[in-house]
């Protein structure tokens, strides 16, 4: 079929057809790549942002879990909690709702059987009368579930109260593969930047400025933009100068973007 078509088509048109096909395939590949990259980037981004250095700097022991990619424990990550805040209660609610829905369906089926036996008018009347009852019963069940939950919560609270209160600094921080990698990256970058960060003395101590840098493929700073200036020009300039001094950044940093907050 294709051969036949190719033969039928004039030479110029044939070339144009192949070009079109080639171009469409390229676009398709690009879309695929883009999709893959987006998915990859999504996971990468989450762990890059979630590490809380202040939590790590508190002196708490870091426990590395080599067989887990990420550990979303409360002590490690604050931002992850905020993002992935889908508390277990919600899931419980969902299951309860599902159960109730299933029960409703069963009840409806029963009603339908009853409908066949009785007259149409009577059936409708019965339907109208039964529906609120069913709702009431579901409500009662829901309230029972809520009561049970509250009780369980109370029990948990009791357990927590009985346990000795630990200081946040003593609580171990569990870290997965991705988080560990992020910590290492941040540490490496931190060391590199702190070498060259030397602000002028005699400025107010609460100053801080945020510089966004883009690292090129040679490991040098391609672009440095002061995102949040401190309000003191020489402070911002010394931050910019510190960034410009960065030379041959680690391989993993190449082609990436960093926002660095410079503090006194």
């Amino acid at each position: 079929m294709l051969r036949w078509r190719c033969k039928v088509l004039p030479k110029l048109r044939r070339h144009f057809f192949w070009c079109k096909l080639f171009f469409v395939s390229i676009i398709g590949h690009l879309f695929l790549l883009f999709g893959l990259l987006f998915a990859y980037k999504g996971t990468y981004f989450s762990f890059a942002v979630t590490i809380n250095r202040s939590a790590l700097g508190s002196g708490a022991p870091v426990v590395f879990l080599p067989f887990r990619k990420t550990v979303k424990s409360a002590s490690v990550v604050s931002s992850v909690q905020k993002r992935n805040k889908k508390p277990k209660q919600k899931s419980n609610k969902k299951t309860v709702v599902k159960k109730l829905a299933q029960k409703k369906i069963v009840q409806k089926k029963k009603k339908k059987n009853a409908k066949l036996k009785t007259l149409a008018v009577k059936k409708e009347a019965v339907k109208v009368a039964k529906k609120p009852k069913a709702k009431k019963s579901s409500k009662n069940k829901a309230s029972r579930v809520a009561h049970k939950k509250a009780e369980s919560k109370k029990n948990i609270e009791k357990v927590v109260q009985t346990q000795p209160v630990k200081e946040s600094g003593d609580q171990p921080i569990y870290v997965g593969q991705l988080e560990m990698a992020a910590i290492q990256m941040q540490d490496e970058m931190h060391q590199e930047v702190s070498k060259s960060w030397k602000p002028p003395a005699g400025l107010p101590k609460d100053l801080q400025c945020c510089v966004k840098i883009v690292v090129d493929w040679n490991g040098r700073v391609h672009e440095a933009i002061v995102e949040k200036p401190s309000g003191v020009l020489m402070y911002d300039i010394s931050a910019r100068t510190a960034v410009a001094k960065l030379d041959e950044l680690p391989r993993w940093a190449r082609g990436k973007e960093f926002s660095i907050t410079f503090k006194q």
Binding site: A48, V49, V193, P200, A201, M234, G255, F258, Q264
Partner: protein, 427 residues
């Protein structure tokens, strides 16, 4: 063309999403000076070079900049400015002879993108080249640091003069903020003490107390050395303090009584503010002119710092213990600096009026007395007295660095730092 643009769009889209963001917080472990270049443009003249050197000295004094001076013949385009960035100067101040005889053009450039940050045509004020330099430095400083410049301010103080065969005298001197360009202002054959500046920005005046055979009188002197007696009551007349608007004056006078009291002079009327058995001295106004800080030794003859409220007419004690004297108020920081005796040595303290907490600033040997704030609120000027000498020192409150501004072999005391005046040659 269409295919090209389509393809480039995809590539850009692709690249844009390939980057990821990492947030880092970096704490400074060291301090370094910012490199700064002062560049005179055009024909090299002695005046322009001297001006550049003056600005260089001003900036070097702060210990925040590493300043270099250079002359270039022309400045053609932006690439000429960007060259300085490659040489390691992120900031360059260009100085050029302006239009007209009395004009100097200055421009501050960010050399990374060759953009002008600020620039002006300065019209020379006064006759001295150093003053022009101070004025330009003052104009550039807020852009660099976000703070008010203090380079054109002056320092007044008393210096002991002991001539062979004659009695000890104290003369009044004024100098630039860094102690340079010292000028003898009052050289009468008397003991002159406690100079204080007025608050009129266009007409600088200095008030000091002169010991005579009858009393200690209050004398006013302008920058040309013309003097006038302003308070000549019996006993002591000294230490005037001006309100921020310059309309109210409070000074100490004993008026023949045994103790020194505070008097308010306003619209030709003299009003007694304090009336107690102690000595009330060193008044200093608050920023809103609603209260006054002063030193009083009414309790056990041990001086303490008090706050006088003009609305209620009542005084409130700020310090609780020790021997506290010479308060000096800073409106920028809402703090009060004073001297307090600690183990037999006078040390400087800060009293925060918002938190009501005290903080010791100095700890070393030598009595620190009579502190005075800079107009920017970052420096404190005070006298450090040891057995042999008394020198004026300047303390940077941010970096805790101290610099002496007078020579070691002299006895200088009673420093008073002026607020910025438009022209010191006037008046």
């Amino acid at each position: 063309m269409k295919t090209k643009s389509f393809f480039s769009f995809f590539v850009l889209f692709f690249l844009n999403f390939s980057v990821f963001a990492v947030d880092l917080q970096v704490q400074a472990q060291q301090h370094a000076k910012v490199k700064f270049l002062i560049c005179t443009v055009g024909k090299k003249t002695a005046k322009l070079e001297a001006l550049a050197n003056r600005i260089q000295k001003d900036f070097l004094f702060t210990n925040q900049f590493a300043v270099s001076c250079r002359n270039i013949s022309t400045l053609k385009n932006k690439s000429n400015v960007k060259k300085f960035y490659n040489e390691g100067f992120p900031l360059v101040l260009f100085l050029k002879k302006g239009n007209g005889r009395k004009a100097i053009e200055w421009r501050l450039y960010d050399t990374q993108d060759a953009s002008m940050l600020v620039g002006k045509n300065y019209i020379k004020r006064g006759k001295k080249l150093d003053e022009w330099g101070h004025h330009i430095a003052d104009a550039v400083w807020p852009t660099l640091t976000g703070q008010e410049g203090f380079f054109s301010t002056k320092v007044a103080y008393c210096k002991e003069v002991r001539k062979p065969g004659k009695k000890l005298l104290k003369h009044v001197y004024i100098a630039d903020f860094d102690g340079s360009n010292e000028k003898l202002l009052v050289s009468t054959s008397t003991i002159n003490v406690a100079p204080r500046w007025n608050r009129d920005p266009d007409k600088p005046l200095l008030f000091y107390s002169e010991h005579t055979n009858k009393n200690v009188r209050l004398v006013m002197v302008n920058m040309k050395g013309h003097r006038k007696v302003v308070a000549n009551f019996d006993g002591i007349n000294m230490l005037p303090a001006f309100s921020p608007d310059g309309k109210q004056v409070v000074f100490c006078a004993s008026r023949g009584g045994g103790s020194c009291q505070l008097y308010l002079y306003q619209k030709g009327i003299l009003k007694k503010l304090t009336d107690n058995s102690g000595n009330n001295i060193s008044p200093t106004f608050s920023d809103d002119s609603k209260s006054l800080f002063y030193c009083c030794d009414v309790r056990n003859r041990c001086p303490q710092i008090y706050k006088y409220n003009f609305e209620t007419g009542k005084s409130e004690r700020l310090t609780s213990s020790g021997y506290c004297v010479s308060p000096s108020f800073c409106a920028k920081k809402n703090q009060l600096a004073y001297a307090k005796m600690v183990r037999g040595t006078m040390q400087l303290f800060l009293h925060d009026l918002s938190t009501k907490k005290d903080k010791q600033l100095t700890f070393d040997v030598g009595n620190k007395e009579e502190c005075s704030w800079s107009s920017c609120g970052n420096y404190l000027l005070f006298a450090v007295e040891t057995r042999k000498e008394s020198r004026l020192a300047m303390l940077n409150l941010n970096s805790n660095e101290r610099k002496f501004i007078t020579a070691g072999n002299s006895v200088c005391c009673y420093p008073a730092w002026s607020s910025p005046y438009s022209n010191f040659s006037a008046g």
